[in-house]
Subunit: 215 residues, 2 copies
DNA sequence: CGGGATCCCTTAGGATACTG
DNA sequence: CAGTATCCTAAGGGATCCCG
């Protein structure tokens, strides 16, 4: 029932016993964005079999990383306070893995929750502090997000309904080369790797200085 | 050959593709302490099947996290610079997992490398900075370590050969309750959970304020 | 002896179908 | 919608063997 153990009395082995099973950390990643229903989690992890999702949800509850939200009419999963402590770890791990992303393959998807966490990984609060507050409406593949930067604060939400923003753009996996600095913003626009939907193209420069992870 | 992928274009999913396979992060943990030979790794991970160790070493090399040390006569594995970037992540994950350690079961071992990383996870440089430089010779189960604290610097080595130290002690899984603050140092000594081998018992207080992780 | 490769068996994971 | 049930495959576990 509990994750298979490694026979070691150590913090790291305990950690991977708790969240090291396949798919587990991706479930945690999405729940760190916000509470999610079973179906929302399944939608955010298109390739997870439903029996595995069900098993992981049980295991993560059993070890106190997630829970069903109390006094909610529908069943909603959320991280516990202990699970919330994984947030900096997951962000750092995401920053590390982001650098190893290569070209996207056709079958790879970008989900709103994964992109939200990637943006939080790449966020440069020091840089943002020096820039005027800015709102971006961005589409990355399927994921539409509203990104609000104000001082050193970042807020990313699913871009639904009528919202106001300073700059709107659409892109795909080219986001990786933008954030890594491999592709210059205006060059990306010229090459149609980024489509500007609204606002001054120069605001894409502000975006890439706000979200940056060097390779 | 390459780790099974999750079909997502995201930093976190890429990270767990690289180091999320069973045993992989424990191998990285031990290599973060220092270069290790195949046999040393096997000794530090008593329950790993040799075919799995061999497979993981190949995979981790293929993705650039570890490598065979160049111009070394014997075969020695070490982390690459990219693998070294995992160090803060592994330490943070170790701190998180450490809090979830319960009572040690009999079959659980404490290895020198795992204990070294746990100590590094629990190290409080701010506190250490206010304290005089101190050397500890410590035995945790099988693992004998020499722990040198000097200002905000920590150095942990395997305690072999003649060395000088201020305080020597031996303990076992009680180390967890000491570091979590659940068990007071002098109480631990009185209850024979910690055996003082050399030096003033009060130095155990200094040790637990230098290495601390609240639950 | 270090550094693996091979064998066989067990268990977890994946695909799909189905149900309260 | 939120999961079970079933079947099948692939990966892990354990022992042994091999080779330079």
């Amino acid at each position: 029932m509990a994750a298979r153990d490694y026979g070691q009395y150590s913090g790291i082995s305990r950690a991977v016993e708790l969240i090291g099973e396949r798919w587990a950390l991706l479930i945690v990643r999405d729940l760190l964005v916000g509470p999610r229903r079973y179906g929302e989690l399944a939608a955010g992890l298109p390739r997870i079999p439903s029996n595995i999702l069900a098993a992981r949800l049980k295991e993560l509850q059993a070890v106190g990383v997630i829970r069903r939200a109390p006094r909610s009419r529908v069943i909603v999963y959320e991280v516990t306070p202990y699970g919330r402590e994984l947030e900096p770890v997951v962000l750092a791990l995401g920053a590390w893995g982001f650098k190893a992303l290569g070209e996207a393959r056709d079958e790879q998807v970008i989900t709103p929750d994964s992109m939200t966490m990637d943006l939080r990984s790449a966020f440069q609060p020091r840089v943002a502090l020096e820039l005027p507050a800015t709102s971006y409406a961005a589409r990355f593949g399927d994921a539409e997000l509203l990104i609000r930067v104000d001082g050193s604060a970042l807020d990313v939400t699913r871009g639904e309904g009528p919202v106001d923003f300073d700059f709107a753009f659409a892109t795909g996996p080219a986001i990786h080369r933008l954030i890594s600095g491999e592709l210059a913003p205006q060059q990306a626009i010229a090459a149609h790797a980024v489509e500007v939907l609204h606002g001054r193209p120069a605001l894409l420069d502000r975006f890439v200085s706000t979200f940056h992870l060097a390779a």
